[in-house]
């Protein structure tokens, strides 16, 4: 498994980026471009739109880096910009789907661990198919959880949603994914 820069924020050149150093921005963009694109693509399902959103996210990051208070939160801040962009696009297209959410069983959720989700090489495509079949709120939460291993409170910040709702979404997203997965394997 790749070592995430997020887990050791000292390596992120955020202070240098704040001063406008191109090398620092280059390093930051390089670090986040693929995770960000993956997240955006899995939400919007369109390559060009995803690239546009990534570009807009980078531009906004450069413009508003001053507003970032804690350097170690750069990753979640960047994803929150992207998430806002996705929401704007979706609002424009008027395709937003709101699904009724019920309360989660915390005990079940607490036992979950992303490392439990290990996929064999031959099952990768199946796994991606299953992810695609999830609803957008569930998919976005699950992707943030898987791609950057963001914690629940970080995902709540990114999506501007309450922590309880995120916990619920994550629980039901995993449950749905597991059901889809079992169906695929059978």
């Amino acid at each position: 498994m790749k070592v995430l820069v997020e887990s050791c924020p000292d390596t992120l050149p955020v202070p240098a980026a704040r001063e406008g150093q191109p090398d620092a921005w280059d390093a930051l963009f390089k670090r986040y471009q693929l995770p960000l694109y993956s997240y955006v693509y899995e939400c919007v399902r369109d390559e060009q739109t995803s690239l546009d959103i990534v570009q807009e996210t980078f531009i906004n990051a450069v413009k508003y880096i001053r507003q970032l208070r804690e350097d170690e939160k750069f990753g979640s801040w960047l994803f929150s910009i992207a998430h806002q962009k996705i929401s704007q696009r979706r609002r424009k297209q008027a395709n937003e789907q709101k699904k009724h959410e019920t309360f989660y069983k915390e005990s079940e959720f607490e036992n979950e661990n992303p490392l439990q989700w290990l996929i064999r090489r031959e099952d990768e495509k199946r796994f991606m198919n299953c992810v695609e079949h999830l609803s957008l709120p569930h998919r976005s939460v699950l992707l943030l959880h898987f791609i950057e291993e963001f914690k629940v409170d970080q995902i709540a910040e990114i999506t501007q949603t309450q922590v309880g709702t995120i916990k619920s979404r994550l629980f039901y997203a995993k449950k749905a994914l597991r059901n889809l997965w079992e169906r695929e394997i059978k």
Partner: protein, 150 residues
């Protein structure tokens, strides 16, 4: 075995060259997009100055009665002076009637009126001269020359 993160990222690996293009395009616009931190400092300084001014106003001037009383007194004084200065000639002439004047001034006033009337009458008889040759429209030297020739 792979972690979901790796599976997801691998699925989108093909977009890497286009992402590199996006990155380089944003980096090329970096100078125009980035606001230097100095402006932030200036903004901060301005806001600090504004805060100090507001604090001084609230703490020192606003609650101090003496300042407000003295300001009110100054305004009253200015208003009174301004009222008195306002068109004094008109006020005086409207209040004084001709009978209340002293005899000397009254005589002078009557004399001035007569003089003005005679001058006005002489202006009325002037047109004959005007018809002759509009002397006022010519230079004085030219008029003298005409007179000498005549």
């Amino acid at each position: 075995m792979k972690h979901p993160r790796d599976v997801i990222l691998d699925q989108h690996q093909h977009a890497e060259p286009r992402l590199n293009q996006v990155r380089s395009s944003v980096l090329s616009r970096l100078q125009t997009l980035h606001h230097p931190p100095n402006t932030h400092l200036e903004e901060k300084r301005d806001s600090v100055l504004a805060q100090i001014t507001v604090a001084l106003w609230r703490e020192l001037i606003l609650p101090c009665r003496r300042i407000w009383i003295s300001l009110a007194a100054i305004w009253m004084f200015i208003a009174v002076v301004n009222f008195q200065m306002q068109s004094p000639n008109q006020a005086k002439f409207s209040s004084i009637s001709i009978n209340t004047l002293s005899p000397v001034i009254r005589d002078q006033l009557i004399r001035q009126n007569k003089l003005r009337a005679s001058l006005l009458n002489s202006d009325i008889t002037q047109p004959e001269e005007d018809e002759i040759g509009h002397p006022s429209a010519k230079l004085r030297s030219a008029i003298r020359r005409e007179w000498m020739v005549g």
